[in-house]
């Protein structure tokens, strides 16, 4: 069963329309595999930042923070899923939360698949040949983006125009979520400060 699911993940890579339809309606996807893909995305990105060849890697390797990259990628992933779910709920989307997480995770598969060979390739390219490296990197990102759009479109049963407007709204929703989180964060901090000051006041007076 598990083997089938892994095979199916690679099937969606080349047959996105069929693949994502089956994930939505026949339960062929798995949330675990999807999260694993996101995890591998993070790993691939960190390794690329840290170990890509000197000629193509402008990042200061002393300041590469893998944990931060990993955290950012997961936060962005969940923000997108929650934002997308909130928007599509109101816009007659057919996808459930579990479909969104599964399909979006599956759609990111090209990134680890191509980032690893690109990082390897970067070790042996010279400046004249670095376009091959960038070809792989850009291809993976384009492919991933295309799959994200397609997956979302199919699991919600949208037309392309509606899908694009939904994605724009999703970005807005993500920003609103971030804003609310920040708001709550500062509010709770102020509340904590308030309680702390009451506590100190009591300590000194009583």
């Amino acid at each position: 069963m598990k083997k089938d699911k892994i095979q199916f993940m690679f099937y969606t890579l080349t047959h996105p329309v069929d693949g994502f339809y089956e994930i939505r309606h026949r339960g062929k996807g798995s949330i675990g595999l999807s999260l694993l893909t996101v995890f591998f995305c993070g790993i691939a990105y960190c390794i690329n930042k840290r170990y890509a060849g000197f000629i193509v890697n402008a990042a200061d390797t002393r300041n590469v923070n893998s944990l931060l990259y990993m955290f950012t990628i997961f936060v962005l992933f969940f923000l997108f899923c929650i934002g997308n779910w909130s928007v599509t709920c109101l816009m007659n989307g057919e996808g459930r939360m579990q479909d969104i997480i599964t399909a979006t995770g599956y759609a990111l598969l090209p990134i680890p698949l191509l980032f690893f060979p690109a990082t390897l390739l970067s070790q042996i390219v010279t400046a004249d040949e670095q376009m091959f490296y960038y070809l792989l990197i850009n291809l993976s990102i384009l492919w991933g983006a295309l799959l994200v759009i397609l997956s979302n479109m199919i699991i919600h049963n949208y037309t392309l125009t509606k899908e694009i407007s939904t994605l724009l709204l999703t970005v807005a929703a993500m920003l609103i979520i971030l804003f609310i989180i920040l708001l709550f964060y500062s509010m709770f901090r102020q509340m904590a400060e308030f309680i702390k000051s009451i506590y100190t006041e009591l300590i000194f007076r009583v």
Binding site: F54, I55, D60, I124, T126, A127, D128
Partner: protein
Amino acid sequence: MKRFFMILAAALLILSEPLTVSAKEILPYDTYNYDYRGKAVSTPAAYNPEKTVFGENLSCGSFKNPKDMFITDDGTIYIADTGNNRIVVLNSDMEVLQIIDSFVNNDKKDTFNSPSGVCYTEDGELYIADTNNKRVIALDGSTNLVKIIRDPRSEVLSSDFDFVPLKVSVDYAGRVYVIASNVYQGIMAFNQESEFMGYFGTIHVRITLAQKFWRLFSTKEQRAKQLQYIPTEFTGLDIDDEGFVYATNLDSTGGQAIRMLNPKGIDVIQKNHNGVRALGGDIRFRMGGDYQGASEIVDVKIRDGGIYSLLDCNRGRIFSYDSEGNLLYIFGGMGTQEGTFSQPVAIEAYQDLIYVLDASRNAIFVFEPTSYGSNINQAVGLRYNGDETKAVAVWKKVLEMDSNNEMAYSGIGKAYLSSGENKKAMYYLKMGVNKEYYSIAYKRYRNELLRENLSWILTAILVGIILLRVSRRIIKSRIRRIRS
């Protein structure tokens, strides 16, 4: 217990050491440089203040708002003492040789009015930008008039053009280049017959996308009230031995404050191929508060080995670049201590000393190189003259003093590259974050590896192919056997 006494003894020994620090170790300014990523990194000082020369201490009396200075190849210093309407001539030991405050013009005594530019040619002629008299005067050594440039007439000049020369420079062919006030078209060039030849090295206005965008929405009245987009004025100039005019200008973005103009007036300056490609002094600066804005480069001096130094009057810093546009070192600052400026206006160099004229403190500041600075100068000079292998030893000395010096790593790497030691070159070029040359070194190294191991690689491929074929055949025959 024994250990305790040993520590105590060591502590006493350290404390008993006289805690004297010579004045020069405490510099009144920060010395730093920018690394590949444009981050400011502290470096050892390249130049230390050696002495400050005030007019009061000389026989000529105090300077008053001096605006320009020129030092000849033999060390004679000409100072345009603008406020005192005179030219003061010093020798390299800072003794007054001559004070020029008048000259003979048509058998009559003539004087200057706020001379703010001075230049001495190889033929022994002294050119003075006599600003408020609206003329440029050329005198021979004994203050006899050679020629006067005034009232330039040309089709490109309006009939009521007001010629207010600020800075003057002369090339080997006797062409005179004048920076004039309120002239935005470029440097004014005059031929030997004092005729106006045209504008030189015009800086074209660049309007950013945002500016274009806002202009789209503004009405005619608003547009009239907006700032006019005019090219920046040139601020200072110097001419090298080959006749290239180095001219500084103000650039509020900090991108390019120096231009190297060929005889056609086209900018041919080299920007570094690596890192932040800027020739405008400070790369990072604040946009508000104290010390805000880009460096305001007011003068340039071309020094030995293709090095040129820019003088910033905003933060009082001196930026030195090599002929390839690499920033070598930065020193200087604003203040009232020795070695800091309040209104620096002109920079000159003689031998390995750097001279800066301050118009507000009415003084000449002399800076001498430290061993760090002179080693960099020497190494850059060696590379400039094509002697890269000799430069390696000097760069290694620089690295001993500053192990973050990317220029030094690159310099050593380039030398190893040209001598064919690609592996070593790769290490040094990587340390110097020089991607361009690293790529070349790596390519050669890779070819070397391939050539040496070609037989192995080919054998491995051949064996691989054979193994693949054989294994496939075995698998097929097994499958057949299982089926049958």
